[in-house]
Symmetry: C2
Subunit: 326 residues, 2 copies
Amino acid sequence: VGRALARLLADRQDLLRNRYGLSPKLRAIFRSTGGLMVRSPATVEGLILGEALPARKAALWDPKIMLPAALKLDRPGVFVDCTPGNIRTGQPGLDQMRLALGRGWHVVTANKGPLVVGYRELRRAAAGRGLGLRFSAAAGAALPALDVGLRSLAGTRITAIEGILNGTTNYILTRLGQGATFGGALKEAQDKGIAEPDPTLDLEGWDTAVKLLLIANAVMGLELKLEDIDVEPMSGVSPRALAFARKNGRALKFLGRIGPGRGGVTADVRVRAVASSHPLFGVDGTNKGVTFVTDTMGSVTVTGGRSDPRGAAAALLKDIIDIYRN
Amino acid sequence: VGRALARLLADRQDLLRNRYGLSPKLRAIFRSTGGLMVRSPATVEGLILGEALPARKAALWDPKIMLPAALKLDRPGVFVDCTPGNIRTGQPGLDQMRLALGRGWHVVTANKGPLVVGYRELRRAAAGRGLGLRFSAAAGAALPALDVGLRSLAGTRITAIEGILNGTTNYILTRLGQGATFGGALKEAQDKGIAEPDPTLDLEGWDTAVKLLLIANAVMGLELKLEDIDVEPMSGVSPRALAFARKNGRALKFLGRIGPGRGGVTADVRVRAVASSHPLFGVDGTNKGVTFVTDTMGSVTVTGGRSDPRGAAAALLKDIIDIYRN
């Protein structure tokens, strides 16, 4: 995702300048093995082409270049986090985001862990300093779930959210509906690069639960924790449920839902059979979608959005543009 | 729509203050027969309840209170236009918007006419003074077409737009698909208050064409005029087309489309048979929906949104919030 973003920034200089008056420059890049201070477009080119030129790439990375030093650069900008984060501890991204916000940097992130653990704290830190904290890329990426929930539905009361938030499991369910076996559909998804080699987090529903939590906490102003969401693994779907759904013109969807419940709200993730009138009925394959139910605007659904590194990078870029537009 | 907005502003004072730090106040209200300077919440109450209390209402309206004077009020705020506008001349809204922007007022509007005729001029006038010009309520209302196109897809290149943008015609097509006759479905829509007594603009496709134009000009940066859109009335749909669609598992939709064409872009409005894999296939009844095709984010679709005066008022309120949030 980081490489896709670097490429996008290089490709879109003209569009960004003409349309938004922006000329973003990469200043430094980090990965687990070191950092790289970017001094020229040629360096960026080197980084982007790096994969094909290992010798040149290796020479560019310096293990002594660290994030804290880079954040002291003359003028703060945007800290973009594309690292994978632990959803129990939020680390290492959580500390990095604290550091960046503390030093006056905006934060744009594709990293879910720090937000699951520390969203409220990070949001306060950002708001207190007038900084942006944007995480479209962590909550649906090119599917604009947060934009719709936070901006398009501003002024409404959102009473429920329902979403197909994971491409791997939706792909498998779509294939099951077409007659494939679970094992066959999973292998197919792995062969196509849709499912990870270890798809546990997807199949057990945690990826869906995490995205539901991020979206609900942001747009409904809740303070949900992962343990507040009742998660039933997708692998529990029975051939009988499948046959029943098909016979009744319904489709099985692995839905994350939050809505009114005992003592406030109830949130769960499970396979449900939805009727053809349901707004997410037609969301097939690796597509995602989310429905918001409101008091004054009725129900609004957004679907689609490319679900690959380029789509995630485009979501990061969108968040960067939005910070500077405001 | 104006009355629904006044009611919403009165109802939502707490929510607006707590969530957005806003305390909007109605200052003056106009209609064709005069104006009303709002001095207290009781006046607003009087206005809102007005319909049920004609004597009281009549006493409140003063034919000598005019817009130009009101716009000289001490501090500029937001001018909200809910009047119907002529799509050929843009008047009277166009002159009112020019006046409001010229005096430093933001403009939020549900009025299509002025935007069809003078969008580029109004946009420049607003941008030159750092003012907001928002028209969600004129381009889909509670369906967040502009938000998604302008914000969620920022940084992408939008190559095509396709939309079901008119509730009346979509309702009629849905009912035709269920076996109703054209005359029967139209009468039903009129009886339910969905279709206007004179539904010509809807049936002939002009309402769809206007919304397509507003959305495309804003999000694709075009300068389309109404005559650039090839419009084929919905009433031309044949029983044969209907039978063919049904036999092939397709649905007839009255689509506004803009995409690559000879010498740039082609735009049209006509009934098309869409397959079940089409993202707007399931958009039935009075629902609306729009799909954007982009280079980096794939295809993103938004559907739904209440299509009544309250939904339109909620869209106006959303735009007001957004102006002050930025």
